[in-house]
């Protein structure tokens, strides 16, 4: 079983949304990452083994998953 969480900004067109590997060395979108991480922690019982947060380059899509 897993737990998933996501935040999707509705208006996304007009921003570049290139692919990245999810690592975020510049610290962008740190607030969203933290929110998603805390969200996953609240449903950690669904997936105690591993977890990951991914945010698109322009920050309009944020996802978190734990297994």
């Amino acid at each position: 079983m897993c737990g998933i969480t996501a935040a999707i900004t509705l208006q996304r067109s007009g921003s570049f949304n290139g692919s990245n590997d999810g690592t975020d060395s510049s610290g962008e979108h740190a607030a969203l990452r933290q929110q998603l991480q805390k969200s996953l922690e609240s449903i950690a019982h669904r997936g105690p083994d591993a977890s990951g947060v991914w945010v698109s380059d322009d920050g309009t899509i944020g996802t978190g998953c734990e297994c």
């Binding site: 998933i4 996304r12 692919s19 998603l36």
Partner: protein, 174 residues
């Protein structure tokens, strides 16, 4: 979970039945390059090959997921045919910062700034247990056998990919 070409991103809850055989077919027939052995990767690969709604036909199992397709900027959210795995949603904010929150359990919304309010009418009438409703105001659940797409302009559409098919009771006794 990311596709082999890095264009499709997904978070998946659940399991895909027969994923071993599906994986083999994806490798042999479509040249897909799997990174690991997680069955969720099969879902991403099937989406890459068949798209939505095409890939639902190939997805048997218990699942709820969010797929983001960089190719067309769409977000696809779906739940399995019987709603074995959960998917809750709510809208937050206004204007350009308006966003849709999605989660396996509603408590997951709290860290994203959600302020729960009871669905009073739903609780009193019992409708909170029906259809897409929940016990919280403006929080809905995705119906089983349905998928939702969110376009890059924020347009939301719901579709049904499966409905239980019951034979007509009268004809079966004739």
């Amino acid at each position: 979970m990311h596709s082999d070409d890095g264009k499709i991103h997904a978070v998946v809850n659940g399991e895909i039945y027969d994923h071993d055989a599906i994986r083999e077919r994806l490798i042999q027939d479509h040249g897909y390059k799997f990174k690991g052995h997680c069955d969720s990767e099969v879902l991403v690969a099937l989406y890459k090959v068949y798209g939505a709604p095409g890939f639902f036909e190939h997805l048997r199992g218990e699942f709820s997921f969010v797929v983001y397709d960089e190719n067309d900027g769409r977000v696809i959210v779906a739940r399995d045919r019987f709603g074995i795995k959960p998917m809750f949603g709510t809208l937050q904010g206004e204007g350009t910062s308006k966003r849709m929150l999605l989660t396996s359990e509603m408590k997951g919304f709290l860290a994203l700034g959600w302020e729960p309010q009871w669905n009073v009418h739903g609780l009193l009438s019992g409708s909170s247990m029906q259809a897409h409703n929940t016990v919280f105001k403006d929080v809905w659940k995705l119906n089983p056998g349905t998928w939702m797409e969110v376009s890059p302009d924020g347009e939301v559409q719901h579709h049904q990919y499966w409905d239980p098919d019951f034979n007509d009771k009268v004809s079966s006794t004739q």
